[in-house]
Structures are given as structure tokens and as C-alpha cells.
Amino acid sequence: MIGEISHFLSLSAVLLLSLILIFNLFFSLNKFHPNQLMLSMRLFNQACWLVFISFGMYVYLAISDDFSIAYIASHSNSQLPIFYKVTSIWSAHEGSMFLWIVFLTAWSILFVNSLDKNHPLKKLTLLMLSLIILGFLLFLLLTSNPFERILPFGAIEGADINPILQDPALAIHPPMLYLGYVGFVISFSFITAYLLKGDFELQWEQDIKNWSFVAWIFLTIGIALGSWWAYYELGWGGYWFWDPVENVALMPWLAATAFMHSLFASSKSNVLKTWTMFLGILIFVLSLFGAFIVRSGIIDSVHSFATDPERGLYLLSFSGLITLLALSIFAYRLPDLNSSKLVVSGSKESFLSMNNILMITGIFSIFLGVTYPLIIESMSGEKVSIGPPYYNTIFSPLILIAAIFIMISVDALWQRSMSLKALFISVTAPTLLSLLFLYLIWRATAVFSILAYIGIFSGFLILFSYLFRMINNFFNKKYINKGSAVAHIGLGLLFFAVSMNSILSYEKNLNLAPGESISVNESLQEFSFKDIRVFKASNHDVISADISFLHDGREISLSPQKRKYATRGQITSESAIHTSVLKDSYLTIGDQLENGSWTFSLKINYFIKWIWFSAALMVSGMLLTIFKKKVL
């Protein structure tokens, strides 16, 4: 019964949203009637609340193990703790789409109600948001209904959530990511409303600035958590795979980052306004593209849901429709938008726009990497995979140029050209210092890889230029934008950590008999196989090896295990991990060889934790920017 009520509430929301759109058809788009707006607002708020209550009831259904609902029966289980009963809702397509819509609705209702009641763009924004929510609710109910019952008899027990999804990181990773993705519906619909309205005296930047910043924070955390989960939980031994779904999350992130930067420029000095608008639209379009790629099953990936083409077609046509709507209005208004003000070359804005171009290049390269296999396949039937080498080759020069522009822009001024002398002074010290440190790293590691060195050098350029600026700020009281400094230091650290990880990490296969001891390399000495123990646990036998080694003088003891399950003779192996600030050591035990020795696989991953630390810095920088009293 509760299932039906929940279903009915969602259907009612569809009805109310349609009503808003139909009712507003009777009025001119540009005229303002207070009562018309008031009525639309009421309907809209009610529709949003219907969605929330409907979802709340659905959560209740999941907690109370209603296995007559097909979706809950196939993704939850009565034995699960309540926490995972709730998170099982977003462990597959239907429920996660529902959550996506709830977030869309939440952002929309908060934003629309935050606008002043006489705000000239309020009505048009409301209509855009209604249209978008309506389209996705219909998608949910028509092609992926989470309320479907198993009739006449429900399942007695649920099929259980996939065990690897029973993890706290997974419980928050999708919601964070969705909050980020759909948060940009605000810039999308507000800018579209602005363009529809056609009153270019209005200012729009301030109204959506902080909303977009918050959405960016969620998106960043979501992406970072996803890579954390892949590394620690899935034991993939890596943090980023250039998987299609990681790529489609990175595209809106890059667009959002570009958008924030150009938003600063356009509100600081009235330039790049058209460009900023375009980016504001683009972020949400890329988010929709991501939803399409993941949910249509067009590319198989770690994240794909089992799907049917009908869903893909619906998503494609609806996303295409609203994208086209926004972009056509943009194209139509383009001649009126061109602001007469030009960017002063050598000013902060000019370097910032250069980096905007680089970020767009990045987006385009990823887009090409994602779609290229599809293009080739549809033309020749041949299958190609595009892997990390493509992305690494493309991104390292982009990163270098970006780092150079960031370095210069640290000391550059808004709206004023920088003299060559000033430029020379500000870049010399960081560049020399970066070169020196790069040389030291080369001396210390004796490894050379051009791509990684470009990455390390870029990281250093950013780190040192901010370091100098901070010193200058401390002694000479020169102004420093704290939020920006923290975020960019995070970026510099990220480049550094990722590149160092790629050159230093290694994997070794070792053969040892119990009691033997060997040196693996200069930093890893006395790898000794002390003992092997066999004991019985509840339903399996355990073979456990006691290993210790000296890593850079520090003694580390690890006990990897092999388990043999009695019932089926299945053998599983449990790796042992030791983590420290600089590196993680992974040790897995293999098989016993004929001569009595055992095989071990040892993986050393450097600077891996630094990657998430730098993401945390970027987020903190953003928070500082939002909560600074006088922003911009």
C-alpha cells in the first residue's frame, strides 16, 4: 500500500509540473503578473515536496524489507544493517535515478525560493527547472519504474546488495557525485532564463556564484571518493583508470572549474561574459551526457547498469532537447551579447582565459577519447580501446602550459597589463627552484620519464610561485587571495603526487623458502620469510606467512594469508597492506613451488595518500572563497 502511495505521489508531482508548464503557456513569457508567478511558485513547491515525500516513503519501504517491490527485492536483503538497506536504493539504475531526481528537485526548490519574489528571472528559471524535473520524472516512471511490484506474490527474501557495494565510501560516493552533477542545473536554467528574457542590463553572476561553488565542491569530493574506493576497497592497485565513467565525471568538473575562473574575471572586470555564460550551460550539458553514457549501456564499464536501449533513447532525446533549447537561445542572442570590453593582454584575466582554453582542450580530448572507439566501431566494425597512454600524452603538455600561466598569474593584476620586467622577476625564482628540485629528484631516484617529469615540474612551478607569494605576503604585506592559494597549492601537490607515484611505484615477484631472506633493492632490505603457519578458522583453513622487511631503515611486518574453504576447495588470498605517509606496501602470497619455496607479489605505491590530501586542499580553498566576507 505504501508503495502505491509513494508511486502515486511521484505521479502527482508529474501532474503538477505539467500543470505549471501548461498554465504558463497562456501568458506571454516576458510579462510579469504577480499572481501568475505566485500560483506557479505554489504549484512548484508542492510538486517538489511530493517528490521528497515519495522518496521518503521509498526509503521506508527499503528499511521495512518490502520485497514485493521488484527493485528492493533484487537489491536488498533482510539481513543487511539498516544503513546498507538505505544505500541499496542507489546501488542500481532505478533507485539511483530516483535519488538523482530528488537532488535535482532539492537544488531547484532551494534556489528558486532564495530568489527575491520580484526577481525578473524568477518565472523563467522556474519554468526551465519544472521542464527539466518533469522530463526526468517521466523518464523514471516510464522506463525505469522503481515502484514496480512482483505480482501476485512478492519475494520472501531479497537477493542482496553486491558485497563490494557494502562500503561506506560507496554509500556516499554516488550521492556526492549526483549532488555535484545536478547542482549545475542552477547555472544552466538561470543563464537560459537570462538569455530568454533578453534584458542584458541585468546582472546574473552574483545570483548563481555560490551555488555553483558548492556544486563544484560536491563534484570534487564525489570524484575523489570514487578513486579512494577503487584503490582501498576494490584493491585495483590504482586510483584512476581513465574509465569512460571517470572520464564523463571529469568533463563537467573541468568545465565547472573553467566556469568558476571565468566567473571571477567577468564579475571583477566585466569581460568574458559571453564565454562564462556558455560554460555555465556546458557544465550541465556534460553532466547529462555523463548520465546518458552510464545509463544507456552504450559503453560497458565498471559502472554500467544492465540496461535496455529504450532508456538510452529517452535520455538521449530529452537531454538533446533541453541542450538544443539552451544552445539555440544562446546562438540567437549571441550578436547582442558581445561585450565591447576586451581582455587586456598581460592582465590576470588574460592568463586566466588562456587556462580556460586549456581546460576546454582537455574536455574535448576526453570527449574524443570516449567517443572515438564508438566512431571507429560504427564505421568499420573494428574494436579499439583507448587507454591511459593517450590521456597521459595529451594531458602532460596541457598541464605544463597551465602551470606556467598559473605561475605568471599569481603576480599579475586585474585589468592591468604586466610589465615584462615584473613578469620576469615573478617567474625567475619559482622556475629556477623547480628546476633545482627536479634535478634533486632525478639524482635521488635515478628514474627518468619525460611525461612524469613534466608533471613534477608543473607541480613545482605552482607550489613555488604560491610559496613566494606567501612569503611576500608575510614580510611585505602583499595581498594574497587565501582561498585561491590553498586550492592551487592543492593542484600543484596533485600534479606532483600523481607524477611521483607513476615513476616510483613498482611491483616485484619474489620466491622465498621459509627462513630465507633477500634484499629486494637498495631501499628495501632484509625481506625475510620468517615462518609459515597453518591453522583452522571456522569454515576454512588458513595459511599465513610472517614476513618482515626493512624499508628505508624502518621495520615493517606483514602477514599475507591464503584461505582454503573446506566445502568447495576454493582458495582465496588476502593481501596485507602497510601504509605510511610516503608509501603503501601491498603484499600478496602466491603458491608453493616444487622446491618448497613460496611466491610473493610485493607492490609499493608512493604518494598515494597525497592525491586525496590535495583534493581536500582544493575543496578547502573553495570553502575559504565561499565564506570570505567580501567575495570578488
Binding site: 553486491n162 565498471v302 536501449p309 538533446g320 566494425g381
Partner: protein
């Protein structure tokens, strides 16, 4: 210039949408017909219990199925693969971007239709093979890949795509 820009802003998304619609609607049959036989990539890997995989173990008629414990669709096709493994064909698993402990636990829970599973935690072999994700299935005859299916393996795909190939190969030999 401005006119061209305005035109592009509208026409590019339309082209992209049309392209994806076309890809979505492409008949699966055509994909099978276009497949070109190629050699199975050379590899040196262990199976899930840690033993090295011998190249000879791929001789004869084999089905190589890419799977992982995190893969939802793999669970969907699992009963059908189990059925196939009983009397139709020998199946070799390619455990893709997974952790061996989790993969073994998965097999223990759901049953093991595979002769053995090649353990490919980083997806190296899968990359050489052209795998885009799990599940995927490859039909092998004497170390040559002669057929490929993306996504869930089921009765219809088995009968339309792989059975004719197997019969042809048997007649040939």
C-alpha cells in the same frame, strides 16, 4: 564568423545526438558479421588460485568470458554460463579489474562455471584483447578469437552469434 559560430553552436549538438542515436540503434547482428578473426594476445598471467596459466590451455574450442565480482550484469548471465559449461562448451574466465579475494568469494557464493579464471587485476590482458568492460565473451578456436559479444550472454546471442561459428569451424576441421 559570428554567423558561422551561431550555426555551429546549434548544429554540433544535433550531430552528436544523431550519432549516438545511430549507435544505440545499430543492430547487434551487424556487429557479429563484421568481426575479424585475430590471434589471442600473448600473455603471462596467473589464475585466481595463483598458478601460472599455460598457453596450451586455450587450445580447442573455448569461450573466454570477462567477468568481475563488482559486475552486476555478470550475475545476470551467470546461470546461463553455468548451463553452457555443463554440456556445450568449456569456459575460461578472465577476471577483470577485480581483487582475487573478492573474485574467489564471488565464485564460491554463486558457483564456478569456469575451467579456471585468468586473474587480470589491472586489465592488461583485457586491454590487449580490446575489452571495454564486463561482461564480454570471446569465442576461441585454437587460440584464435573468432567471435565477440559485448554485454550479457544469453540463449539468443549464443544461438545467433556463436553456434553457427562453432559449427562452421567443426566442419572445416
Amino acid at each position: 564568423m559570428n554567423q558561422l559560430l551561431r550555426f555551429l553552436i546549434v548544429i554540433l549538438p544535433i550531430l552528436i545526438v544523431v550519432f549516438f542515436a545511430k549507435v544505440l540503434l545499430v543492430d547487434e547482428e551487424i556487429k557479429f558479421a563484421n568481426f575479424e578473426a585475430k590471434n589471442f594476445p600473448a600473455f603471462q598471467m596467473n589464475d585466481l588460485s595463483g598458478n601460472p596459466v599455460k598457453a596450451e590451455s586455450l587450445d580447442g574450442i573455448k569461450l573466454v568470458n570477462v567477468w568481475a565480482s563488482w559486475c552486476v550484469t555478470c550475475l545476470v548471465e551467470h546461470p546461463f554460463l553455468t548451463k553452457l559449461s555443463k554440456n556445450d562448451i568449456e569456459i575460461i574466465g578472465l577476471n577483470y579489474k577485480d581483487a582475487d579475494s573478492k573474485a574467489n568469494a564471488w565464485l564460491q557464493k554463486h558457483g564456478n562455471p569456469y575451467l579456471f579464471s585468468i586473474y587480470d587485476p589491472r586489465g592488461d590482458l583485457a586491454f590487449d584483447l580490446g575489452v571495454t568492460g564486463a561482461p564480454e565473451s570471446y569465442l576461441l578456436i585454437n587460440n584464435k578469437v573468432i567471435g565477440h559479444i559485448q554485454g550479457e550472454m544469453n540463449q539468443i546471442k549464443w544461438e545467433t552469434a556463436f553456434l553457427p561459428l562453432i559449427e562452421k569451424a567443426k566442419q572445416g576441421s
